[in-house]
Structure formats: structure tokens, C-alpha cells
Symmetry: C3
Subunit: 156 residues, 3 copies
């Protein structure tokens, strides 16, 4: 298809994951994938609260590829309500699980902040619902033109 | 698994729910669960608009458990675009459906606000897509250490 | 059910869609639906980055129906992190796919903005996960009382 690629995937197992206070989101999702044998998955829902959230935004006016001087990093100690965690877990070109996660967080003022997630620690609770994707020919590796790890579909 | 629990669930029925203007989100979701016989479910998508949104954030620097003096409550009359509604419906220890909902709302300024949802009223429309989870050994009750109702998985 | 309607749908195919830099989100989703034969679908996840985002909010104090003087439009050049894309694709009363999309975007400041999406252009990457809904008797057309295209369920 011009301008886009698409591919069907089969639904695998579905999981509820509860992460303990004090644990890191990305670490625990990677450990979950390793232990359960999940190779590819998508997050369908997440609610809870976090602290020590470390994420980035892209500077206005930046060009591609997204390099470090074109990003702005944020560290927020919180605690903050975990309002949204979007993303997917895809096996990369070294056979390792790569979590691409974006986070949205509620401050006590009611304002919402967020960005591309490096990591965050669970504060009081964290409930994640996730669907395993059974698919061949999908892989994540660095895109030179984008500057970030990106899904590649074998038909590309 | 260290630092987290996980459990598989089976996908049940899938529903589209349209809530009328003037109705409360939480009330209608609870009534839907009662009438359809859904015991556990996860929201996969919601779009629409709301007014009289009542939600909370956690104060910066707060400690666990999350008690009322450690929260800040917000009442926003709006109307506001309903940009995200994340959460799940889980049967609690009294056999009643407990909706854990986080909301994200767009102001006319373009700024996004949100938090842990107490309730909100549908303004012009509200379209919710929801998946029933068929699972045993998952229950919600108050966590003393977190201060909030939390999912408990029987293996814990 | 008083105050709401609901209807079961069957899960159809599931797709991963990768949209190229420089392409418009809404255009590519519509083209995908046409090419794949998808009539109704729901977005379950989206991550990436966009620029030239054009969206609207509802003015505080506005009444129904939502008419143009009651909205405020925003054009943001970005680039911005794509933190959330919520919505559904439903066939309308003329047999055409209508995408109802709400977007949430992260600025370099960490602040999140968003609203009802007119359109946005992919910046570095865009990964969308989508589920086909197989359902009869669901259609989108303009609601006179809401002022916006809205899902109608045949039982209404």
C-alpha cells in the first residue's frame, strides 16, 4: 500500500500483569516476556501510579533523524497517576524483547504530562492488560532515517 | 515472578457501548455489567465528550498509602473532549463490579487534564469498546499498603 | 438498557499498520480500510511521532449541538510525540469509512495537548495496532442533537 505497510497477526495469549510498588515498568515487562515466552505483544490498558518517571519529548522544529540534541528529557519524581501506557513489545534483530512505550501521567494540578518512556517506578499499584501477537516477519531495529528503533515489516 | 504477578485470561464477549448525553460514565458501565452478566472486563477504546468531570491526582511528594489528604480533587465543568478512558471492571470481594477508571480530557485551549476518575457526565456522545475477560482467581479489594482498591491475583 | 445501548461484536482480523514519514494519519487509515476490506475497526494502540497536527477542543460552557463557533481549532507544527490515538473506524450511511479519532501529543516541555483530530502527518514513525470488528446494525451518521457524526446502534 502506498505510504504504509500492514500485516495481519494472530491473537495469542492474553495476560493481566500486576507490578509491585518500587519496581520498574520496563524491567518487569521485559522479565514477564522472558518468563512467559512472549515474543511480541501489545499493551491494551494500564492503570496505576508511578514515581521517578524519566521520559523525553522532541524539540519543536527538530528535523529527522531524532538525535539526542533534538530531544528534551524530563525526570519527574511525583508520585503521579499513570493515565496511559501505550506501546508494544517486539523482538529486535538480536532476538531480544524491545519495549516501545509512551506514557501519560496526571499531576496533582490535574495537568497531564508525558512522552517517550525511558522508565518509571510503580508507586502504589500498576495493572497492565496485554495481548500476545503471533506474527512472523515483524522485527524492530534502528531506523537510520527516523533515528529510533522502529518496527520493520518483511514486505517493506 | 519477582516483582510482579501475571495470569492468563480468556477473551469473552466484545461489546460496543454507547452512552446517552446526560448519563454518568461509571453508573452506565456498572449497569451494563449487571445487565449483560459481565464479571470482568477491560476498556480498549473510548471517544466522546463529557462535562462535570470529577477526578483526583496524587500530591507531589506523597507517601503510601494514598489517603485523602495526599490527593487533590478536581471538578471541571467543561464540556471537554474525552480523549482517553483507561481501566478495567473487576468483581470485588463483595461480588460487586468495581470500575477502576482513569480519564484524559482535552480543554478548548488544547491542554490535556486528567486523573483517577470519580465520575463524569456524557456531553454530546460517548462510544466505548470493551472486552470481557474470563478469568478465575482475580479479585479487587482494598490494599492497605496502597490505600486504594487493587487487583489481587490468587497466586500472590 | 436505560441511558445506554450496547451490542456484541465479533473479532475479525488483527493488523499492525506502519505509516511512513510525511503521510497523513487519517488518509492512510482510510486507504488501509479500503484496501483490506475492513468495514469497522477499533484502534487498540498507537505510538510514534507527528507534525502539523490539526485538532479541536470544545469551548468551556458550550451547549449542544457542537457547532463550529462552539469549538476552538489548533494547529501545532511540532514535531510531537504521538502518545495516544483513540478511536474507531465505522462505515457511515453512504457506505464510506468514517474515522473518529482523538489524539494526545507530547510537547518537548513534557506537557500533553490534544483533542478531536482533523489530521496529522507522521514525523519519524507510526505504529498502529487495530482490531477488525465484525458487526451488523452499527452505522455512523450525523447526530442532530450532538452536532457530530455518532455511532447508531440498530436497537436504538
Amino acid at each position: 500500500m502506498d505510504g504504509a505497510w500492514y500485516k495481519e497477526w494472530d491473537q495469542g495469549r492474553q495476560f493481566i500483569i500486576k507490578i509491585k510498588p518500587g519496581e520498574k515498568l520496563r524491567d518487569r515487562l521485559s522479565a514477564f516476556a522472558l518468563q512467559s515466552g512472549v515474543k511480541n505483544a501489545v499493551i491494551i490498558s494500564a492503570v496505576g501510579s508511578v514515581r521517578h518517571a524519566f521520559f523525553r519529548g522532541i524539540k519543536a522544529g527538530a528535523k529527522r533523524p531524532i538525535t539526542e540534541p533534538r530531544m528534551r528529557q524530563h525526570q519527574m519524581d511525583g508520585p503521579l497517576e499513570l493515565l496511559g501506557l501505550e506501546g508494544n513489545l517486539i523482538t529486535d534483530d538480536r532476538g531480544e524483547i524491545d519495549c516501545h512505550l509512551h506514557i501519560m501521567l496526571g499531576k496533582s494540578s490535574g495537568d497531564v504530562v508525558g512522552g517517550h518512556l525511558f522508565d518509571a517506578e510503580v508507586f502504589a499499584s500498576c495493572e497492565i492488560l496485554l495481548t500476545e501477537m503471533v506474527v512472523q516477519g515483524v522485527e524492530r531495529h534502528i531506523s537510520k532515517s527516523a533515528g529510533t528503533p522502529t518496527i520493520f515489516i518483511s514486505e517493506e
